[in-house]
């Protein structure tokens, strides 16, 4: 996977994860173009589109679009399921996740993503294991904040 973007129906970026080194200018350009292109697509259209030499796989969950860029030889359907699994993870972690959870706790969303995907590849596909890792780190945080409080 080359990058993952989360943006709202209004085109506001909510999360961005780049697995390939790109300069900021390029990132901004890509984001702008993609947000525009994906938002312009009609609901009945398929979740894939060819864009430059990449494949874009996107899916809308409520008001939020999840959008991944993969290479041509990659499997579009499994990418769609990666998105879904990520949503499942967010859902489990936040407890029926909504866009606001991601807006206000975006760093948490990043932590979860980093446990799930690493370097653009699926790291751990077991939901239980991912959440266990996150909870352990969180627990530490809790303990620390309790100790310092």
């Amino acid at each position: 996977m080359q990058f993952m973007l989360l943006f709202s129906r209004q085109g506001k970026l909510r999360l961005q994860k780049w697995y390939v080194p790109l300069c900021d200018k390029e990132k901004k350009k890509i984001t702008r173009e993609l947000v525009q292109t994906v938002l312009a697509r009609k609901p009945k259209m398929c979740s894939f589109l060819e864009w430059r030499d990449l494949k874009i796989v996107y899916k809308r969950y409520a008001s939020l679009y999840f959008c991944c860029a993969i290479e041509d030889q990659d499997n579009e359907l499994i990418t769609l399921e990666i998105i879904h699994r990520y949503v499942e993870l967010l859902d489990k972690y936040f407890g029926s996740v909504c866009e606001l959870d991601i807006i206000f706790n975006f760093e948490k969303a990043y932590f979860i993503l980093d446990e799930f995907l690493l370097g653009g590849e699926a790291q751990e596909t077991s939901k239980k294991n991912v959440l266990k890792a996150i909870e352990q780190a969180d627990l530490l945080q809790e303990v620390r904040s309790l100790a310092t409080a």
């Binding site: 579009e76 866009e99 206000f104 699926a122 596909t125 780190a137």
Partner: protein, 1092 residues
């Protein structure tokens, strides 16, 4: 849904009061986010972020800021960066935070680093020490964080520094650490393969790790390694196969299931690896056949994830050394994708097809109608993938059609995407490409739309675009221009003429020079020259000398239009006043109300002219039928309709043929050739009926009713569908041998609203076209119902001098049965025939009455005893003349179809030397039967055993009977008929077990959804029974919503049918060793159900 978000946002303060604990949000961030959502303009947002960033800046540089505060600041900085603002001054603080903070701060610090910094960023060097320290930490979380950041951003040069530590982690007791270490090494391998070459042995250990997560992670590395050199890893094939088997066998912990599919990601990785290993390597491929087969078999559940696996599996099967059985299964799976109503699956199906047609182009044939539909899909992604597919199946025969489609697409894209054009230069450049590549093949509306876009824009906004265009065109014209298509030259000259003045820096003389240069080129068409001259007319002001030169040189041109323009040009350039008057700059007031015509209109009204009516009002009042009358009305109809036509309905029916109005579906002249269409005369390709038919018809009095009987619905698909099929046949030409016809037939929609006729022998009257013409028969014969032989119509009888005098109109009704069947005596006169038929002459004791049904029943009574018990069809008339009448009946024998022909002598005298000659191209040529004589009023029976080796939808039979009424005077009577494959199908009696075995051994299959008959209690049973009755199938078993049915082609190839109730449809899956048989059987099933 976003309304909900907005609402919730307004209720935020309350929401956060209640939020505590883990999801606690720092105050400042909360405020920041909240105030940003309240803003209305981008400008306000910019100001707010600016203030925020300067506040952050102040805070980070203050020595009093604690790490805890720093953590909160960093989150805010990340937020600002995400909104697109530069917070680069915080980068160094992110690194510091990761370096100095506790675990809590480190986590945020590392996250910020991985978000802020690229691999190449120099600040990353400062991170190396921190990472080294954390990798050696005893705190697992710190090690995890360090590994995570290493696997995301790490400077290439510093890999050696951390490599030993990361390597050590491969044997860490905690699986999460091992997993992350493997992925970090994968990352290292990607950015610096040489650095990690020595640790391949350790990868191997990771592959055999007891934790599935670690093992799965190691596959990323292996996939990469094997992609680069498959040969070095062949020995691992066995291990990968074993792992895949274990995964498929559910040996992994349930945690790894995803929607109850075991570890799909792992499966896909393994399938990819296997396909790389088995590519062009038979012995390695053989190791994986079994597991691939199992993988294909397991993926049954209807969920995206199984399709993802299936797709990968299909690709693997087609990549490795081929195995026929697997290829077939995989090809069938593609059907599930392509035919899926889910658009994502359809896309993947197209992608899979694109991949597999490179191995077997014929696979595209099965899905040609879907492909055609996808070609016109509204979604560009689908359309593009379809074109990709077409590109792969391009061959010498279909290249023109495919290239045309691609150009259509090319022409369509730029105009459609205008609104998305990211910037002007890109747009102009793309259009330049389109014009120069697409050239004159582009539809005229492409340049037109483009020019309109340029012209209609607002001056301020679009001047930029025009400027780009002018600039880019000048560059183009300075290069080689001789190869440029005319339409591009025209566009360029128009734009230069209109907008060259916008570009201050451009020398007008230069523009004139470039345009004049074009005029000198021989390749430039005279039309383009006109465009160029018009452009030149618009440009000059003060460049009179150049223009005069040009006008001078053109005034001797042979082209009158050019001469004229040159003259105009000269006058205009000499007379500036005239010029100003003619070429008004940028102002053209249009009086859209046409008020200047008011005087003329009132004058005309006063003179009695009708007031103007808009076109749509005019249409309603229009009573004239503007449709052309069909020339193809049967002669009998037109001759009779002069006298006893009650209403013009019939005529309007014939004219309606060309249109597609609603009445058409119920009233269509079957058998009448379509001569006129909306666009006028349609060239006839069908073979026409023998000319002798028409005159004889003309002399026969025919009633209107009779003519009406010939009006048959034409159950052809709509014209649109036909277009598609036509397109299909041109696109897929050359892919398969002789199978395209049947495929087209298969995909054809069942006939809409078939008009049932009350007559028992409707079929025999259903077609007026000559079945002898083989190319029309394949189509028109579908219109007919379940009879196999069509009697020739009276019109088709050869007109003999005596043919009409003793025929009442009644006796020449459409079914053509001669009713003078009274038989008195018979004489046996058996003769030879090839297929073992024999001839018996029987003498019925009763006098037959004149009604066709009883005729048939009586005739069947004439059958020889050994044939009487066989199932048989109705007797239908083949042909008749005053002396002889021929009828026939089909008998379904197990090993052959018996065609029984009854020859009746209708006269009171003996008819001699009666010889029947029967021929059929597709079956076997049968030589004639000769009888010495046929006694007066007797009927003789001869029968033929017909075998069908290769299935055809329908086969046509032709034959003649010759006889002598007087010595030396031979009469011949031709007849013809059609047999369908259905007549050659016999039930195949097998047990469920045998069926199962047979099923697996069969190779060719077809799937299709059929209509389910729901009128009775058990839809499946009803449907299967209907099929059984119509097609002589054997229903092997019905289990729940599934039924298995078997049949065979006479004693030859079997065909197994697997039927499953699928909602309101019957999903039918046919298999046979014969490639075309399933298609034909399916076709007949469709027909049988449609007519039920």
């Amino acid at each position: 849904m976003s309304d909900v978000v907005e609402k919730t946002l307004t209720a935020l303060p309350g929401l956060f009061e209640s939020q505590t604990g883990a999801a606690k949000i720092t105050n400042r961030l909360r405020q920041l986010i909240k105030s940003i959502t309240e803003l209305t303009s981008k400008h306000e947002e910019e100001n707010l972020i600016k203030r925020e960033l300067s506040a952050i800046k102040e805070q980070v540089s203050s020595p009093n800021t604690t790490m805890k505060q720093m953590r909160e600041i960093m989150v805010r900085a990340m937020y600002c960066e995400m909104l697109g603002y530069d917070a680069s001054f915080t980068y160094i603080h992110a690194i510091k935070l990761a370096q100095q903070g506790g675990v809590l701060e480190k986590r945020v610090g590392y996250l910020a680093v991985s978000l802020f910094l690229n691999e190449g960023h120099e600040l990353l060097l400062l991170l190396v020490n921190t990472v080294l320290k954390d990798l050696q930490s005893t705190n697992l979380i710190e090690v995890c964080m360090a590994l995570t950041v290493v696997a995301q951003v790490f400077p290439k040069d510093m890999i050696p520094a951390v490599l030993p530590l990361v390597e050590d982690k491969l044997s860490h007791p905690k699986e999460i650490i091992r997993r992350k270490a493997v992925l970090a090494l994968y990352k290292f391998y990607l950015i610096a393969p040489n650095q990690v070459q020595h640790i391949h042995a350790k990868f191997c250990k990771a592959l055999s790790d007891k934790d599935p997560g670690v093992m799965a992670s190691s596959l990323h590395i292996y996939l990469q390694l094997i992609r680069e050199s498959p040969d070095s890893y062949k020995d691992l094939t066995g291990s990968f196969v074993t792992i895949l088997k274990q995964v498929l066998g559910g040996k992994l912990p349930v945690d790894f299931n995803y929607h109850s599919v075991p570890a799909p990601w792992l499966q896909i990785q393994l399938l990819r690896i296997l396909s790389l290993l088995g590519k062009e390597d038979q012995s390695t491929s053989e190791l994986m056949y079994e597991v691939l087969d199992e993988s294909l078999r397991r993926a049954e559940m209807n969920h995206n994830i199984t399709y993802a696996i299936l797709y990968e599996c299909v690709k693997a099967v087609y990549t490795i050394h081929p195995k026929a059985e697997l290829l077939e299964k995989a090809a069938r799976c593609i059907g599930n994708f392509v035919l899926s109503p889910k658009i994502n699956l359809k896309y993947l199906g197209l992608k899979a097809l694109t991949y597999v047609v490179q191995h077997d182009a014929k696979l595209a044939l099965q899905h040609q109608m879907t492909i055609i539909e996808c070609l016109d899909h509204s979604d560009f992604t689908i359309k593009r993938e379809t074109l990709e597919l077409l590109f792969r199946i391009t061959n010498a025969q279909n290249v023109t059609v495919i290239v045309e489609k691609m150009l259509d697409f090319l022409c369509y894209v730029p105009i459609k995407t205008l609104t998305f054009a990211p910037d002007n230069s890109w747009f102009i450049q793309t259009m330049n490409d389109v014009f120069s590549i697409g050239g004159d093949l582009l539809q005229q509306d492409v340049p037109n739309n483009f020019l309109r876009l340029l012209a209609e824009g607002k001056p301020e906004e679009d001047d930029q675009l025009r400027l780009y265009a002018v600039e880019s065109y000048l560059t183009v014209l300075k290069g080689h221009t001789s190869h440029l298509p005319q339409c591009f030259l025209q566009v360029m000259s128009w734009v230069l003429g209109e907008y060259a003045h916008l570009q201050e820096s451009v020398d007008r003389r230069e523009v004139i020079r470039l345009l004049t240069q074009l005029l000198d080129q021989r390749s430039v068409s005279s039309e383009t020259r006109v465009w160029i001259l018009s452009a030149l007319t618009k440009i000059p002001e003060g460049q009179t000398d150049l223009i005069l030169d040009l006008a001078e040189s053109l005034s001797s041109s042979q082209d009158t239009v050019l001469r004229q323009q040159a003259q105009e040009l000269r006058h205009l350039s000499q007379d500036s006043q005239l010029r100003e008057w003619v070429l008004v700059e940028n102002s053209c007031a249009v009086d859209s109300s046409l008020s200047f015509l008011d005087g003329f209109v009132s004058e005309a009204l006063a003179a009695g002219a009708a007031p103007y009516k808009p076109p749509h009002q005019r249409q309603e009042e229009l009573s004239l039928n503007l449709e052309p009358y069909s020339f193809s009305l049967p002669v009998s109809l037109s001759s009779c309709s002069i006298t006893d036509r009650q209403s013009p309905t019939l005529l309007s029916v014939s004219s309606g043929l060309s249109g597609n109005s609603a009445e058409l579906s119920t009233l269509i002249l079957e058998g009448v050739k379509r001569v006129w269409g909306k666009d006028g005369y349609l060239p006839q390709k069908e073979a026409t009926a023998p000319p002798v038919d028409e005159p004889s018809a003309a002399v026969q009095p025919a009633s209107q009713q009779e003519a009406a009987e010939r009006i048959e619905p034409r159950p052809e698909p709509s014209t649109q569908n036909q277009d598609k099929q036509q397109l299909a046949s041109s696109l897929f030409v050359g892919l398969g041998v002789g199978s395209s016809v049947s495929l087209l037939g298969k995909s054809e929609a069942p006939p809409p609203r078939f008009r049932k006729k009350p007559r028992p022998h409707e079929s025999s009257s259903s077609s007026g076209t000559s079945k002898r013409s083989s190319d029309s028969s394949s189509h028109s014969s579908r219109n007919t119902t379940d009879s196999f032989l069509y009697g020739s119509f009276p019109e088709e009888e050869p007109a003999t001098s005596i043919s009409t005098f003793d025929h009442t109109p009644k006796s020449t009704t459409a079914n053509g049965l001669s009713q003078n069947k009274d038989t008195k005596e018979d004489r046996h006169a058996n003769t030879s025939q090839i297929l073992g038929g024999d001839m018996v002459i029987v003498r019925p004791s009763t006098i037959q009455d004149k009604h066709p049904p009883s005729v048939s029943s009586d005739l069947t009574a004439l059958l020889p005893a050994d044939l009487k018990d066989l199932p048989h069809s109705d007797v239908i008339s083949l042909t008749s003349d005053p002396s002889l009448s021929l009828s026939s009946c089909r008998l379904f024998r197990d090993e052959a179809l018996l065609l029984v022909i009854f020859i009746s002598n209708c006269t009171e005298t003996v008819i001699k030397d009666v010889a029947v000659q029967l021929t059929c191209e597709e079956l076997k040529v049968c030589t004639g039967n000769v009888m010495d004589c046929l006694e007066a009023r007797s009927t003789s029976v001869c029968h033929y055993a017909l075998l069908m080796d290769d299935p055809h939808t329908n086969v046509s039979l032709t034959g003649t009977v010759s006889y002598q009424t007087q010595p030396g005077h031979t009469n011949t009577l031709p007849f013809s008929g059609t047999l369908s494959t259905a007549d050659f199908i016999r039930p195949l009696v097998v047990t469920t077990e045998e069926y199962g075995k047979l099923w697996l051994s069969l190779s060719h299959d077809v799937k299709q959804n059929l209509k389910l008959l729901t009128d009775a209690g058990d839809p499946l049973r009803t449907t299967l029974n209907a099929l059984k009755d119509a097609l002589q199938l054997h229903v092997v078993d019905i289990i729940g919503s599934e039924g298995i049915v078997a049949c065979r082609l006479l004693s030859g190839a079997p065909c197994l049918l697997h039927c499953r109730v699928n909602g309101a449809a019957l999903a039918m899956w046919l298999r046979s060793p014969h490639p075309a048989l399933p298609d034909f059987i399916l076709y007949h099933c469709q027909r049988a159900l449609a007519h039920h």
